[in-house]
């Protein structure tokens, strides 16, 4: 029998910490499964599974990368590195963070220019995708329902072929003795082959080609939901079709524009395959630099630092994406 006071104390603690307390101390690890099954609703379980997944396969590896980014370069090129936290003999905790890798990143022109180039390529590709994708999404959303699914299928169809193959195929089209140059020369439009391979132009083509569906699909799903009587109302109130588009359709499709743009921009910044195969050799994009740092220089701390900065740089647009997605969800609920 426990004394009453101890019982009361444990109750208080339980109240404060709630389920976590119960889970950790009332049930021991062998009975955790039992506790979860007994006390958690189906909804909590469903949410917990992906969170657990992300915890194990994203957060923990991320913390390891974070730790490596603060370590010292070892000529061996591989872990183990010096630990960040260390108990000294005197019983003090030593935290050793070397920010050398980060300082290097921001001082080295190669990195800075790669960053800027990556962002420029991603931003411009996103803009091109938007300019191409918006009219396509609009046309699909306004086409008769029977052929709408055919159009959507055609947009998704390229995904059935390997991404790598499709990018390789562009080499065959773009290279100096490739299909495009041969046709143009045969037609007598040009006399000398155009240099298209290993240029920014080729990277834009590759990215726009590969990511266009990611722009079209969210835009389509937004535009398809529009209430067309709003356009009739605008027309009735004296707005020409162009005015009705700029005042009604465009602002209402803004969440779709943002979602599509982020879905293109985020992966485009870190794009590795397309610039490696089609892009410039004198100006690298950041993902290529990262892989070179890992696999050629074997400088894990610097590579990790690049990865961390890249992630932080992308977190801002991802959070924006979340924000607008929530907003659209709420609008849809009405």
């Amino acid at each position: 029998m426990k004394p009453a006071g101890a019982m009361a104390n444990s109750r208080v603690a339980e109240g404060r910490l709630g389920p976590l307390w119960t889970l950790l101390f009332r049930y021991g690890p062998p009975r955790w499964t039992e506790y979860v099954l007994k006390n958690w609703s189906g909804q909590r379980l469903v949410i917990a599974v992906p969170y657990l997944w992300l915890l194990i396969f994203f957060l923990i590896p991320f913390l390891i990368v974070l730790k490596i980014s603060f370590a010292e370069f070892s000529p061996l090129g591989r872990p183990p590195y010096e630990p960040v936290f260390q108990w000294l003999e005197q019983g003090a905790l030593q935290i050793k963070l070397l920010i050398g890798s980060y300082v290097y990143l921001f001082n080295e022109p190669l990195y800075v220019s790669s960053w800027l180039y990556s962002i420029q390529v991603a931003a411009f590709s996103t803009l091109l995708c938007l300019l191409l994708g918006y009219p396509m999404a609009y046309a699909i959303a306004r086409s008769p329902p029977t052929i709408r699914n055919v159009f959507l299928m055609l947009v998704i169809l390229p995904f059935w072929t390997s991404f790598l193959l499709r990018v390789y195929a562009w080499i065959g089209l773009l290279k100096n003795d490739g299909v495009i140059n041969n046709v143009l020369m045969a037609l007598g439009i040009i006399n000398e082959p155009l240099t298209m391979m290993n240029t920014s132009f080729a990277v834009y083509i590759g990215i726009v080609y590969s990511y266009l569906p990611f722009m079209i699909l969210p835009l389509y799903s937004n535009l398809e939901k529009h209430d067309l009587t709003l356009l009739e109302a605008a027309s009735d109130l004296g707005a020409s079709p162009v005015r009705a588009f700029t005042r009604i359709t465009l602002p209402l499709s803004f969440p779709g524009i943002v979602a599509g743009s982020l879905l293109v921009f985020i992966p485009a910044v870190g794009e590795y395959v397309i610039p490696s195969l089609l892009g410039r050799t004198d100006q690298l994009m950041i993902a290529k630099l990262l892989s070179d740092e890992f696999f050629l220089n074997r400088d894990w701390p610097k590579a990790s630092a690049v990865a961390i900065v890249m992630l932080l740089l992308l977190v801002v647009p991802i959070m924006l994406f979340q924000h607008f997605q929530n907003k659209e969800l709420q609008a849809a609920k009405r």
Binding site: S235, D236, L237, G238, A239, L252, A331
Partner: protein, 387 residues
């Protein structure tokens, strides 16, 4: 009620232009036909609507009333025929250039704009309107519909009734020559609908705009309209004031569609200019009508008697030879203000009778189920139609 009285006064002051055969129609619809593929939505409709009217197009779903309205707004173009507004042919004029505005059934408010912006939208499309002018007209309009304090709200923050008023304000602020209203009160609950009907009439009088209202709700049409056009299968079957439509339906469809009615098939046995006798096997009695009708001799006619124009008696009246029939009460529905009795007459037909609950009666004073009763009506009550 004040509104209704004022309106009655106005009616006395204003001549009813549709009585004058030479009066020019403000809106003239001439032989309009609209086909969608094989389906004829509107079939050869001609109409004259006069300035300042509230004209109701009344009919069931799919009768072509909305298509007719959409042709006036310019969203559909007629297959043949023409529409004139204030003397101007509307053919080929796109919706955004017509001096016509429409209030949509769904209201179609712009969800991303505030109430103020919604109302201002139409004015912003007009060339040469100063910002200050727009602002003052919007403010005035919001005053009229009593929404001034909601000016900066978004549509989803408003109640159904408030949204309806925003839609009305938005369509009126451009001072259109003609306002088209598609089921304007359809989305409101009953109480609010009744209040809004009178509000709508008072706003219409205040601004003097010509209204064309499309509705399937006959009560709404009765309250709002100066005249009603009843539509069926793409055609106008009768045009008249609410009283004319209800009391003097010209055909079976109108008699049946407006209100409820007991219809008895029969043939004429006496046909004089001032009185008619109809023998009806369906009724099992002779109907005497104290006014003449025009029908071919021997033709099949239908006598329509409204449920509220029939009396229920517990004892046979003095004269049972005409306009009287015996039956047994089958169902009673107590509606509060009136009670509906379904009486099975000797011929087997069920007759509907409504009686106002004038007094509070105890159970043994009231007519009850399975009681034998006599139904009778005044000779002026039946309306005789031929088709």
């Amino acid at each position: 009620m004040q509104t209704a009285e004022r309106r009655a006064d106005n009616k006395n002051l204003k001549p009813e232009p549709w009585r004058d055969p030479n009066a020019e129609g403000y809106v003239r619809i001439e032989n309009i036909t609209k086909k969608f593929g094989d389906f004829t939505a509107v079939n050869n409709v001609s109409l004259k609507i006069y300035k300042g009217e509230i004209f109701c197009l009344l009919g069931g779903s799919g009768c072509g009333k909305s298509t007719l309205l959409r042709m006036m707004a310019g969203f559909e173009s007629p297959t043949s025929g023409s529409i004139f507004l204030d003397g101007q042919d509307m053919a080929g004029v796109p919706p955004y250039e017509r001096p016509v505005n429409m209030m949509f059934q769904s209201y179609a408010l712009f969800p991303h704009m505030t109430v103020e912006k919604n109302v201002a939208f139409g004015l912003e499309q007009e060339k040469g309107l100063a910002k200050s002018e727009i602002a003052s007209r919007v403010a005035d309009m919001l005053e009229v519909v009593k929404l001034t304090q909601f000016a900066v709200r978004k549509p989803h923050q408003l109640s159904g009734g408030q949204r309806q008023r925003v839609a009305l304000a938005r369509s009126l602020v451009k001072r259109p020559k003609l306002l088209l209203l598609d089921e304007p009160l359809g989305a409101l609950d009953k109480k609010l609908r009744e209040a809004t009907q009178f509000e709508l009439i008072s706003i219409q009088e205040q601004l003097g705009v010509t209204f064309i209202v499309v509705t399937h709700d006959q009560e709404e049409a009765m309250t709002l309209a100066t005249r009603i056009g009843v539509m069926n299968r793409g055609e106008i079957v009768q045009i008249g004031t609410p009283t004319e439509i209800y009391e003097f339906p010209q055909n079976k469809f109108v008699a049946d569609f407006i209100g409820s009615v007991n219809m008895f098939e029969g043939s004429m046995i006496e046909d004089l200019p001032d009185r008619v006798r109809i023998k009806s096997d369906e009724l099992g009695a002779t109907i005497y009508v104290d006014h003449g009708i025009s029908a071919a001799p021997g033709a099949v006619v239908y006598a329509a008697i409204r449920p509220e124009k029939i009396n229920i008696l517990r004892a046979p009246p003095a004269d049972v030879s005409e306009n009287c029939v015996k039956g047994v009460v089958q169902e009673i529905a107590y509606m509060g203000d009136v009670s509906i009795y379904l009486v099975k007459i000797d011929s087997g037909k069920i007759v509907r009778v409504t009686l106002p609950n004038v007094e509070r009666l105890s159970d043994d004073e009231r007519i009850l189920w399975d009681e034998t009763v006599w139904l009778s009506w005044h000779a002026s009550s039946p309306v005789v139609v031929t088709q």
